[in-house]
Symmetry: C2
Subunit: 318 residues, 2 copies
């Protein structure tokens, strides 16, 4: 399945070569058959390392918080992987990715692996690709896995579903424009952080969030609300304690197994969907333009066209 | 294809019954075979009415602007359909939908049909469902179709692709937290509006946007930047002129035909994808739990499971 060059990269990866890891991640991001071959080869090396998701609106200090968390874990000699999902575009170029520059010394620390992913292209596939990139980092032998996403739409819900524990970060200044996003964010949260807690309104925000949380459907986990000032490293102990406590809850309640089983099922279906679709695209490439013309000219409906194309697909396959 | 009750609803719909229209929209939103049957029955009634998309960050005054546009069109005796895509959640309930209450007298105007759609559930399918709901409104005989979405992620790009002309609304106060979203919004824009133009910084914002627009890849349409104060109805004439000018450009440049052909092709593929997937889910329902167990217990990889399931699917079909 793997071509020779990819096979060599894989060997280097398993020997701990960081450049090979970066290359495999690119292959996985590009998707398709090669990605599948890489992921299949790495699959047996996944050991179930805890995955932490950090999300929240732009400007609340997520990157600074992730930065502090990484330093905290390095202090315990953990090897840390960070996948940062950044919205970007041809216009802004690397503006948001530029944040990563702050991580300065961390990027040269061999115990830290940071990868930025752009959200350009299909959002639908983003949660899946993110999960797969984290799979590569886990197979690389990292002990702590952090997924950082800008939670601006409901994407955070999908991406959150790839993490075991999702931390939602807000700040007292996130303000009104955040209202519309808050619902999705609250739903995704296992732990809530009010960062920049030295700003006015922090206490009030904690109380509001706690009141909101009581309106969630009853469950045996009540997300704690933690205050932090990430830029000064304050609140880190409370945050890591809250994360550990959620991790304990996952194991003892059976939630971890349920979440992971659901994730396995989603993954099988995603691979199946991809394969089916690749097959359909190849088999139908010659016929799609003809049917597009017929529908565009009003000779057929999209539904009739799809029926004919499907019959052809199954016939070819039979 | 249509069951008797649905057939009656369709007859009522074609006679102009608004409740029947609301019911058909619900059927279409729910998806599946019934949705497909309804859309197929309505397809021949689609005449290519211009579709206007209005998007932008929360709080910039989109609803007020849409409100004014609807009144403007009513003034010209057009029958107007509005599909408003609102982010919502069990927590906030109808908080955002509540905006619609402002439309007060418009909701009882028989020449106006307003439908709110929640973004709960799969975001991936949202653009498609939105397009289909607009199809129902067009088949209902409305002359002007407006799609309003809160552009907080990159969803606006997908939804924009269902409109002929996309208007992106910003306001001088949208501020920093908007930066991360702006890139996607700018890319989607055929017309830009700086609403709340009586607020400080409006002129500066227009200049910044115009400078940003010059960094877009060259194209034969340069999106105009219009200022408005929707709450006072100011700037409406400039906005409708800009929209009309884009509409002219679409026809004369051949862009309209290209966009619509692309949309037809996407629609055929979407229907095909749905059908294939429904078939797969039905055929594989009995086997998926077994394979999920095998993968969860480490006996198989998700890739091996998908291969086996795909072989079974094609065999069953052959």
């Amino acid at each position: 399945m793997l071509d020779t060059r990819l096979d060599q990269t894989l060997t280097a990866f398993l020997a701990g070569d960081r450049r090979a890891a970066a290359r495999l991640i690119t292959v996985v991001e590009n998707g398709g058959q090669q990605a599948e071959a890489v992921l299949e080869a790495l699959y047996p090396r996944l050991a179930g390392v805890h995955r932490l998701g950090i999300t929240g609106p732009p400007g609340v200090g997520k990157s600074t918080l992730v930065d502090s968390l990484v330093r905290h874990h390095r202090g315990h000699d953990h090897r840390v992987g960070v996948v940062a999902v950044d919205p970007t575009s041809p216009f802004t170029g690397g503006a948001v990715l530029g944040d990563r520059v702050r991580m300065g010394d961390l990027t040269t620390d061999p115990g830290v692996f940071i990868r930025s992913m752009a959200t350009r292209g299909s959002l639908g596939g983003l949660a899946r690709t993110t999960k797969e990139v984290v799979d590569v980092l886990e197979a690389f032998g990292l002990d702590t896995l952090i997924i950082e996403t800008v939670g601006v739409g409901q994407t955070e819900m999908d991406i959150a579903s790839t993490a075991d524990t999702t931390v939602v970060v807000l700040s007292p200044e996130s303000g009104d424009s955040i209202q519309a996003m808050k619902a999705g964010l609250m739903e995704a949260a296992d732990v809530l952080v009010v960062n920049k807690s030295d700003r006015p309104g922090a206490g009030q925000m904690v109380r509001t969030l706690e009141a909101d949380l009581h309106m969630r459907p009853a469950s045996d986990w009540m997300p704690p609300v933690v205050q932090s000032i990430a830029s000064r490293g304050e609140g880190l102990d409370a945050l890591t304690a809250a994360i550990a406590s959620h991790q304990d809850h996952l194991s003892t309640s059976g939630d971890l197994e349920r979440r992971r089983r659901r994730r396995v099922q989603n993954e099988i279906l995603a691979v199946l969907r991809d394969r089916l679709w690749r097959r359909a695209e190849t088999d139908l490439a010659d016929h799609l333009p003809t049917w597009t013309d017929r529908v565009a000219s009003g000779e057929a409906t999209p539904y009739a066209a799809a029926r004919q194309l499907m019959a052809r697909l199954l016939e070819d396959d039979g």
